[in-house]
């Protein structure tokens, strides 16, 4: 949404496909993977994070300006491409963060290549079937309603998007919805193989859930915490599913504290 003077864009080629990312800040490498609704660019959250980290925000393959892997059928396929991108960019040990759908991809990546990661941050992450409640089905909602539901309340949504989002934002959501539907459908937004595999992961992990997340039930967080040996859960007040939108500074400092302590 806001590309600032403090961020730059670059493109790398992974598996023959252009992958675009925005980068800013300096320090240890930290990569953030966006929601199923796509990346709005360099956000205040990234700006806050860039005080302590060299932050990279890719458009996931098939989203935004990154080329579509037409063969991809599962978030795990994107996780592999993301891991290759970390190598290609020579980022070194990286703090891999993901929100919602991006959190799922980050978790998949951790099961495959934990040694590439200095830490893992899962924010309202999809990927695990909750044992209480259900993950909200984006397909059954209008884009706008879905994003509203992703905030703790309507006022918080309107503070960012106004009463109705701009046309380009709606197009981004529409476009992203298609790629998401190519990667997850049955079951919707989780992978039954993920939890057993996470039991093999020792990577220090911070789980963050908005206190008012109405998209991914809290029980998913508990299941993640139970599976990941080296994890802790933080609940952020005054935030729904889009913690990075509603509480960017709180989230950035939670992450900085976590990285400092682990």
């Amino acid at each position: 949404m806001t590309t600032t003077e403090s961020s730059t864009e670059q493109t790398v080629s992974i598996a023959g496909l252009n992958l675009r990312l925005v980068q800013g800040g300096s320090g240890a490498s930290a990569v953030w993977l966006h929601h199923s609704t796509g990346s709005l660019g360099w956000l205040p959250f990234h700006e806050a994070l860039s005080q302590n980290f060299a932050v990279s925000v890719p458009d996931l393959p098939g989203f935004g300006q990154s080329e579509r892997p037409t063969w991809a059928r599962h978030p795990r396929d994107l996780a592999i491409l993301v891991l290759r991108a970390l190598d290609e960019l020579d980022l070194g040990p990286t703090l891999l963060m993901g929100s919602g759908f991006g959190g799922w991809i980050a978790a998949e990546a951790a099961t495959m290549s934990p040694n590439q990661l200095s830490g893992l941050v899962l924010i309202g992450a999809a990927g695990v079937q909750p044992d209480e409640g259900e993950i909200v089905d984006l397909i059954m909602h209008e884009h706008d309603d879905y994003v509203r539901l992703s905030f703790s309340n309507d006022a918080a949504y309107e503070e960012i998007f106004g009463e109705a989002p701009e046309e380009d934002v709606k197009q981004l959501w529409d476009f992203s919805r298609e790629m998401t539907a190519r990667l997850t459908w049955k079951p919707w937004m989780f992978n039954r193989q993920l939890l057993p595999l996470l039991a093999t992961v020792q990577t220090p992990t911070l789980l963050v859930w908005g206190a008012d997340d109405r998209v991914i039930p809290r029980s998913s967080a508990d299941l993640y915490q139970g599976a990941l040996a080296n994890s802790r859960l933080e609940i952020v007040d005054g935030a729904g599913h889009l913690v990075e939108m509603e509480q960017p500074d709180v989230l950035a400092s939670l992450i900085a504290d976590f990285a400092g302590s682990s």
Binding site: H143, R182, W185
Partner: protein, 441 residues
Amino acid sequence: MFVGHFTERPYQDESSGFFGATGRDITDLGISNADYDPKLGADLYNRYLDEKVYAEEMGFDGLMLNEHHSTPFCMGGVMNVEAAILARITKKAKIVLLGNVLPIWEDPLWLAEELAEIDMISRGRLITGWVRGTGRESVAHNSQSPFNWDRFQEAHDFILKAWTTPGPWRWEGEHYNFRYVNPWARPYQDPHPPIWIPGILSKNTVDWAAKHRYPYVMLATDLEPTKQSFAYYDEKAKEAGYEAGTQHHSYLFKVHVDETDELADEVGRKFIQGPSNPFLEGNQGAVQANLQNLPGMTSRTAVLPTVASFAAATARGRGEDAKKLGGATSDQIDADKQDAADGFGSYDSQKERYTIITGTPKTVIPKIRHVLETLRPGSIFFWDGDGAMTHEDSMRSLKLMGEEVLPAIREIGEELDLRSPFEIDPATNKVVLEAPAAAGD
């Protein structure tokens, strides 16, 4: 000229509150089946089968069925069951399925077997038609929408092979995989039943149908965009190296015939009342645009000129896109929305545009002639008995159609040289020697 009869078989429940202008919300995919009454369902299924038998008796060449899911406007979720019954209880008429929703089948071999059985029981009277379905169908059977078009094409190729290539063989496709394909049922017709493709909007589908030389059935679209779509078909046919003719063009439109013009108007208005298809113009129901327009279902650039008509645009939740594409202007859309909001307003508007034709035989025959002259289809379907129309309404209309309208239309068809796929084979453009009436005897 081939003339078929069609109704969507609405679930008409006067006690439900969504029959007629009651103000009850009948948003598509927004109604719980807690309201479904199987005893009423039994009456309605039997009524619609009886009407089809009578349509055959009145001289219709084809009995058309269609398929939708999780919706009260069409009871044909398992259309093949109805088709199988018709195969046994009718004698001459073609059984026209427009169509099975290919992409939502997880197991198209099962469909190949069902259709082969129907073709055999009817002794070769099946016309099979295949569609991609609207978003509703993909939601109802949870078919991954971005692969809808790919699955349609692969299922088509697979079924054709299952019908024509002796088994056993193996199929390892992108969306379908079978280790042993050897169905113990083969179609009665050789090499397989005729395939007709119905549609309203997708340029991809017209292009594909033309390449396969399958007749394309435009479903109740406005005359001008229908004509443009046929022209597009012809253009694609030319690219594929053949000349398309009337045998490739088919058109479904609403016709109700009654004893007086006044009664015909009174009953004709019922087309757009009750649980009639909510994505068609003027009807009382509403659609959920996000469900009709599922991600990846329709390519944004491949939209036919029918998008300019309100019906087609809202059919896919694409009213806004129509504006962008230079189709319907927002003023037109607003005017049509106003008509729809006025309840019966758009009935008159549709009558003026020939998408609904009602009246006595004397009134409707010249109007049907106008449609035939404008579009030059070799096969047509009268869409009647829908919305809030009663069994009696349907039977009166069928009788008058049989006695007066069909004979006149056949003469007009001769005069205009409108040849059906049973007179000129669309696959070869050669004259078919056997008369259509002989089939199945």
